[in-house]
């Protein structure tokens, strides 16, 4: 009888510990601090105490107490999901579109998928010294419609925009109205079902749509990037709802963007760029790589004259139809970058043709030359788009090199892919 009780008690305790592990608590001990450290200590005490007693005390009550204390966010009780959406809309906690109610259960699943404790700091916006906690990331990701398996990508994108090079505050507050273009590479793309082909900039794919949206909701709700408040965009663009794609690595012989920028092959990575709206171009009238790229160069020159002259990270998105012509001619991504570095240039005098004659005589004078790229490496070449059509895109930087593209490996993405 005694043995039977002990076995039953042990199983209950094991189940309790398993449950705690599933919540992501306390998986990362070094990040546990302050109040959470106290709770963790308390949890250990309870577990040890239960093991010593082995008498089947109600584990569920202990677990629930711990969960409620571990999350710091205020809780609102409402009639249903529609009422929850109305509350969030009224308080300006969305991008204007409906949200998925962020319940504790869903937030916990997201934290677990990212391998983060609620209090872990994902990143800090350095100018206003605003930390972004994992708990708030998970809440906003649930609201955006993310599945838990998307969280490693969301977290990596936020870590990337918090790097000094990205200049998050400047690029999000500016009248220039930039969005974050997010490019995902590596095994996580297929594991979470991202789209890299048909309508890649458009609607239709949950992972693409909600990962970009989650980053935007974090900017709104955690950093206060609200139009007319901290976000001073004159126009902004549709990418501010979401602007996230995968690179079509399966249908491209070229190395992925993240691999070109230092992420090891076989490891997932994310690249972020503070950008203006994509400019679609088309050339289906030649097989010559140089002629194809001249169409892109013309768009880059046009952007330099009509929007911003300053050199920085442009992104170039090449669809399969154009890629195949490049590949057949033996061109690599490096060749594309070097060609466009040479070709995408304008002179100060060219401004006279676009209504900016007043500034032709300034600076270095009419013959002053400007390049779109500071070096060939400034160009981000991405293979993406549907299989038919010679439509590509030039994605201009927000303001030259004031914000620089950042690439990061995605931690823990592969193990979470099947969730």
């Amino acid at each position: 009888m005694l043995n039977s009780r002990n076995t039953a008690g042990s199983r209950r305790i094991y189940t309790g510990v398993r449950a705690l592990a599933n919540w992501g608590w306390p998986v990362r001990l070094p990040a546990v601090q302050g109040r959470e450290a106290f709770l963790y200590t308390r949890l250990r005490f309870l577990v040890v105490w239960q093991v010593s007693r082995l008498n089947g005390v109600k584990r569920e009550e202990t677990e629930m107490t711990l969960v409620q204390h571990a999350l710091q966010s205020a809780v609102y009780e409402l009639a249903d999901a529609l009422d929850a959406n109305e509350l969030y809309q009224q308080r300006g906690w969305t991008d204007g579109l409906p949200i998925v109610p962020p319940t504790e259960e869903h937030v916990r699943k997201c934290l677990n998928a990212a391998g983060l404790a609620p209090g872990d700091i994902v990143g800090v916006e350095s100018v206003r010294q605003r930390p972004i906690t994992a708990e708030k990331v998970a809440i906003n990701a649930v609201m955006a419609g993310c599945l838990p398996a998307y969280l490693p990508v969301v977290v990596a994108a936020l870590q990337a925009v918090c790097e000094e090079d990205f200049n998050l505050h400047g690029s999000t507050a500016s009248t220039g109205g930039s969005a974050q273009f997010i490019v995902v590479n590596g095994p996580v793309r297929t594991a979470i079902g991202m789209n890299a082909t048909h309508g890649v900039f458009g609607n239709g794919n949950r992972a693409n749509a909600t990962i970009g949206r989650a980053v935007r909701l974090v900017l709104i709700n955690v950093l206060g990037c609200i139009p007319g408040q901290l976000d001073r965009s004159t126009l902004g663009h549709a990418g501010k709802f979401t602007f996230c794609i995968a690179e079509d690595e399966e249908d491209s012989p070229w190395p992925g963007l993240a691999q070109e920028r230092g992420v090891p092959s076989g490891t997932s990575g994310v690249t972020v760029l503070a950008c203006e709206a994509p400019r679609q171009v088309m050339n289906e009238w030649t097989h010559d790589p140089e002629e194809i790229l001249e169409t892109f160069a013309a768009e880059m020159r046009h952007n330099m004259l009509t929007y911003s002259i300053w050199p920085g990270n442009y992104a170039l998105v090449l669809p399969k139809q154009l890629r195949e012509l490049m590949v057949a001619a033996g061109w690599q991504k490096r060749d594309i970058r070097e060609y466009l570095y040479r070709s995408a240039r304008v002179y100060r005098r060219d401004w006279a043709a676009v209504g900016k004659g007043n500034i032709v005589a300034r600076g270095g004078g009419p013959d002053q030359e400007f390049t779109a790229l500071r070096s060939p490496d400034d160009l981000l070449v991405v293979a993406a788009g549907g299989p038919a059509g010679g439509f590509g895109a030039v994605i201009p930087p927000w303001l030259g090199s004031r914000s620089r593209a950042v690439t990061r490996a995605i931690a823990g993405a592969e193990e979470k892919g099947e969730q």
Binding site: S73, E77, I139, N140, G170, S174
Partner: protein, 93 residues
């Protein structure tokens, strides 16, 4: 069944700085003029400097400049500002 949802926002950051006491007069003061790096701000501040010296008795004007309008002033520039009785941060364009 009712639904319980979590707040996605954070509270306002704690304010640790306090406002300096206002100056009764600018006469004899050192005033810093911070150029935010945008076009035309230099001309604007030239004019401000003239007014400060001619009409308000400002004796020392420290001209400061941010190298990048979209980033905070560097630490060295901030340190120079602390030597001033007042600073005007100007936005050009």
């Amino acid at each position: 069944m009712r639904i319980r949802v979590l707040d996605p926002t954070v509270g306002e950051a704690t304010v640790t700085a306090s406002a300096a006491a206002g100056l009764q007069s600018l006469a004899g003061c050192t005033v810093g003029l911070l150029d935010n790096g945008k076009l035309n701000v230099r001309q604007l501040l030239d004019h401000v400097e003239e007014i400060l010296r001619a009409r308000h008795g400002v004796t020392v004007v420290v001209r400061l400049k941010k190298p990048d309008a979209s980033r905070p002033a560097p630490a060295a520039v901030l340190a120079e500002m602390t030597e001033c009785d007042a600073v005007i941060s100007a936005v050009g364009d």
